[in-house]
């Protein structure tokens, strides 16, 4: 690692294996995966070789070493939140940092679990461990989301920006409003309910599932279509126009909602990962203080 820096500094430009983008997971040919893997392997080997009496626990000398390393790692991993606010290139680039964050974070599974000595209970110590595992699992979810969802997202967006999606919805709404003016109240009410429903509304669950059973636009479209079904198409019926516009709105809404769903899946893990990290830091603090308090 340390010897890497000067060698990399002498290079002109980045050396890429195949011209492909080198993501934070592959950074520097999986350098941090190798480091974290070796650390974990070493920890497991030592755990198996050191015969702690009467049974492995966090209070043995090896337990204290694992605990210290684990606590240091947790604090360092938290610092990514600070680090990401200043982007830098090079050997200690933010990407390298993120790569290390991911792999060293995963190695905490091994270090933290060995530190417990597989002794769990309803206490502050296990609380810290469980919070740590929640943070790690949410992080794994986040990494897998980042690895798979953007592809689906850009396929869905079809080169539309979010602003364009919003503007497109507004344009359809304006036309709907216009087209619905001559309608009798009952039909106008249908259109109005579609117009007045917040396309960005719905519960968190609806966001994440993309399932909106109470979509007014769909209901309006179905009702209008039912009314239209047996009428001759003369081309001068305002309801026909409204029907067409509602279909367009529905298609647009579907795209927006897919986008919202993917975006929510990309974001949701952080709502777990970040607050629980701080809960973990608090629990870690309580854990360490309590151990020395009742030494």
């Amino acid at each position: 690692m340390a010897s890497e820096a000067p060698r990399r500094a002498m290079q002109t430009g980045r050396i890429r294996s195949d011209g492909a983008h080198d993501g934070f997971l592959r950074h520097n040919n999986f350098q941090w995966l190798k480091v974290a893997g070796s650390v974990s392997l070493l920890a497991i080997l030592a755990y198996l070789l050191i015969d702690v009496q009467p049974r492995p626990n966090g209070g043995s000398w090896y337990g204290y070493i694992l605990g210290t390393v684990g606590a240091g790692l947790i604090v360092w991993l938290t610092l990514l939140g600070l680090r990401k606010r200043t982007m830098t290139p090079g050997a200690w680039s933010l990407k390298a940092w993120t790569s290390a964050h991911v792999y060293l974070g995963l190695s905490l599974i091994v270090i933290g679990t060995l530190h417990t000595g597989f002794q769990f209970g309803w206490n502050v110590h296990t609380l810290a461990y469980v919070l740590m595992m929640f943070v790690i699992v949410s992080g794994i979810f986040g990494v897998s989301a980042y690895a798979t969802l953007p592809r689906a997202m850009s396929a869905n967006r079809d080169e539309m920006t979010e602003a364009q999606m919003l503007e497109s919805l507004r344009a359809i709404d304006r036309q709907l409003h216009e087209a619905a003016q001559p309608l009798e109240l009952r039909q106008a009410e249908l259109v109005r309910s579609s117009l007045e429903q917040d396309p960005f509304g719905g519960s968190l669950w609806q966001r994440l599932s993309g399932n909106y059973p109470d979509c007014e636009t769909r209901a309006a479209q179905a009702a209008v279509r039912t009314e239209n079904a047996y009428k001759p198409k003369l081309g001068n019926d305002p309801l026909e126009k409204v029907d067409a516009l509602l279909s367009r709105k529905e298609a647009m809404l579907a795209r927006v909602r897919r986008h919202l769903r993917l975006k929510a899946l990309l974001e949701i893990w952080l709502y777990v990962h970040v607050p629980l990290t701080f809960a973990l830091l608090a629990a870690l603090f309580a854990h360490i203080i309590s151990v020395f308090f009742y030494w």
Binding site: V124, R170, D173, E196, Y294, W295
Partner: protein, 609 residues
């Protein structure tokens, strides 16, 4: 009648645009229909929603024409009267209509106050596509979690500690510092579960021995002189020195009770101490304690001194057994004061086996005698009750000397003087058997010489009968006599107690420093350790030596000198106790308890442990 209708709208910058229209009419219509004077392009408004009539006196009457209400000053109404001079505010769907008066004309100011659709409402577009608003923000959640965790898991327990400092026993119920417990307490300390301060006396101070000694005054006596223990300790290696540095830095001194008696390791019994704890001193003890009589012991499998059973070395003035510990290397014998060949008694053939077969129904013997026929285990199964003449030997060896009706009179075992007295009394109070030819009251006729001779012999015999007592006494205490067969008999020359029986010792422990539990060896045959079936003399010390134990027992980590078929890993604690007393070592007791499945006390201290 004049109505002035002002349509207000705003540019995207927010500038107002006012379009004014005058209507000279008695009434004007409000509706979505384009022909209405007040045209509201609002889907919440009916095509022909309401009519505004000018009444005499300048008041306006507003009537709903479609049956749908409108709002006036926030109230829903189908009809309303308004004085334009006073003014009012009407609301139709998303439009607001202000009513006022201007130069005798009624002014109706129309303004759209709601966006025509939700999407076109002015919203903050940043964050519109995010989860903002659907979930509580990350920061407030993080802060509240930090607060909650610290409050519940740190401040609350500290408060509990502060309020129960110095309390002997807390009230039952939940106390917050229980949440700090790193694991369940062992069975012995289970009752302290709610009283952390019983051991954790002062904050940030490791548990001190004084805390242990509040309960363990009697049973936690010193292993040896502390000064000598300090001297005996192996100097720490590099790892030990580093550990020592940390222990000093963190106020965690070594050598406290809790170094070995670790708590919070899970429910059940407290785990025994590792062998290293002993061998750190005893592995090379003589290099540091040069005056020690103890031999080095590093591992049972490879480095352990030969056993030194305590054999009888005579008696003291009061008749107590003196013992001497002799290594098996010196082939010790143990004179217990008896003559008893085990081999004959255990033989599968011969007269004793034959006799056992005849007594099967009476005594439950097998085809020949077995160890259990004479040796009864103690209640705890650790060792055997001493063999008793009346209960064990007496099954075959009778001390009967007289029969009165169906009752046998026996010599008193264990009381030689009484035996002598009984025999003398027997001869004094009885005569020789009366010849049958001496008929009862039949008168003898002269010339019947045979009868006269018999009579004279009988009388002479009866006169000398008492003198035979001494012969009988001699016989009992001499070779072939009842006592002499098993005991060492020495004549005393004393008339009343002419013979002395050597004291018999049946020691309950030969291994004074170690511990052996027969209960733990129930699966073994007696003869696999005790070669009793080949022993011809009572002085044979039928105890297994070190090599014999090593046929099964190996070191703590499985070390051994010879191949062992079914190795039993044995740490020091299996046979030795740190706080040596008369009871079984801790580990041995635990093992027995596990196999028996119930807790077993240790004498009077059971409750304290």
């Amino acid at each position: 009648m004049t109505f002035i209708v002002r349509q207000l709208s705003r540019t995207s910058e927010g500038r107002e645009i006012v379009r004014t229209a005058r209507h000279e009419a008695d009434s004007i219509a409000i509706g979505r229909d384009a022909s209405s004077e007040i045209h509201l392009a609002d889907l919440a408004v009916e095509l022909h929603h309401a009519q505004v009539k000018m009444q005499t006196g300048g008041e306006l009457e507003i009537d709903s024409t479609c049956g749908l209400p409108f709002e006036i000053e926030g109230r829903s109404a189908l009809q309303a009267r308004i004085d334009p001079a006073v003014g009012a505010e009407l609301r139709f769907g998303g439009h607001r209509i202000g009513v006022s008066a201007e130069d005798g004309a009624a002014v109706l100011t129309v303004e759209r106050v709601e966006a025509l659709s939700d999407a076109s409402e002015a919203k903050e577009e940043i964050g519109l596509f995010t989860l903002k608003g659907l979930l509580p923000g990350r920061r407030p959640v993080a802060w509240s979690l930090i607060g909650a965790v610290l409050l519940i898991f740190l401040i609350w327990p500290i408060f509990t500690y502060a309020t129960s400092h110095g309390v002997a026993k807390r009230s039952p119920g939940f106390h917050a510092d229980r949440m700090w417990s790193s694991g369940p307490l062992s069975i012995a300390h289970k009752s302290l579960m709610n009283n952390c301060q019983a051991c954790h006396v002062n904050k940030f101070e490791a548990v001190r021995d004084t805390a242990c000694m509040t309960c363990h005054k009697d049973d936690a006596h010193a292993h040896a002189d502390p000064a000598r223990i300090a001297l005996a300790k192996e100097p720490p290696g590099i790892g030990g020195r580093i550990k020592g540095l940390f222990q000093t830095a963190f106020n965690h001194p070594a050598g406290r009770c809790v170094d070995c008696h670790t708590e919070h390791e899970g429910a059940g019994r407290m785990p025994p101490t590792a062998q290293a704890f002993c061998t750190d001193c005893h592995g090379s003890l003589n290099t540091r304690l040069t005056d020690t009589k103890l031999k080095n012991a590093d591992d049972f499998g490879t480095d352990h001194p030969e056993f030194m059973p305590a054999v009888t070395a005579g008696t003291d003035a009061r008749g107590n057994r003196l013992y001497r510990r002799v290594s098996f290397n010196a082939h010790p014998v143990d004179n217990n004061g008896l003559k008893f060949p085990h081999a004959i008694h255990l033989a599968r053939g011969g007269s004793i086996a034959r006799m056992a077969q005849t007594m099967k129904a009476d005594q439950g013997f097998g085809d020949s005698l077995a160890c259990k026929d004479c040796h009864t285990p103690t209640a705890d199964g650790t060792r055997f009750r001493p063999v008793e003449m009346e209960r064990n030997c007496g099954m075959c060896h009778s001390l009967a000397f007289d029969r009165i009706g169906g009752t046998f009179r026996t010599l008193r075992h264990g009381d030689p003087a009484q035996v002598v007295a009984d025999l003398r009394a027997f001869y004094r109070s009885t005569g020789p058997d009366r010849p049958i030819s001496l008929g009862g009251m039949a008168r003898r006729r002269p010339g019947d010489y045979a009868a006269a001779e018999t009579s004279q012999d009988y009388v002479a015999g009866a006169r000398a009968y008492g003198g035979q007592a001494e012969e009988a006494v001699q016989a009992v205490f001499s070779r072939g006599g009842a006592c002499f067969d098993c005991h060492v008999v020495t004549p005393t020359g004393n008339g009343s107690a002419p013979f002395h029986i050597g004291k018999v010792y049946q020691p309950d422990r030969y291994m004074k420093k170690g511990w052996f539990d027969h209960n733990a060896h129930r699966s073994e045959a007696c003869t696999s350790c005790h070669a009793a079936d080949r022993s011809k003399a009572a002085t044979d010390l039928l105890l297994p030596d070190l090599a014999s134990c090593r046929t099964c027992h190996v070191g703590e980590s499985g070390s051994r000198l010879k191949p062992v078929k079914t190795p039993v890993e044995s740490s020091c604690a299996m046979c030795h106790d740190y706080h040596i007393d008369a009871g079984a070592p801790w580990l041995a007791r635990q093992k027995v308890d596990r196999t028996k499945g119930h807790a077993q006390g240790r004498g009077t201290l059971a409750s304290a442990r």
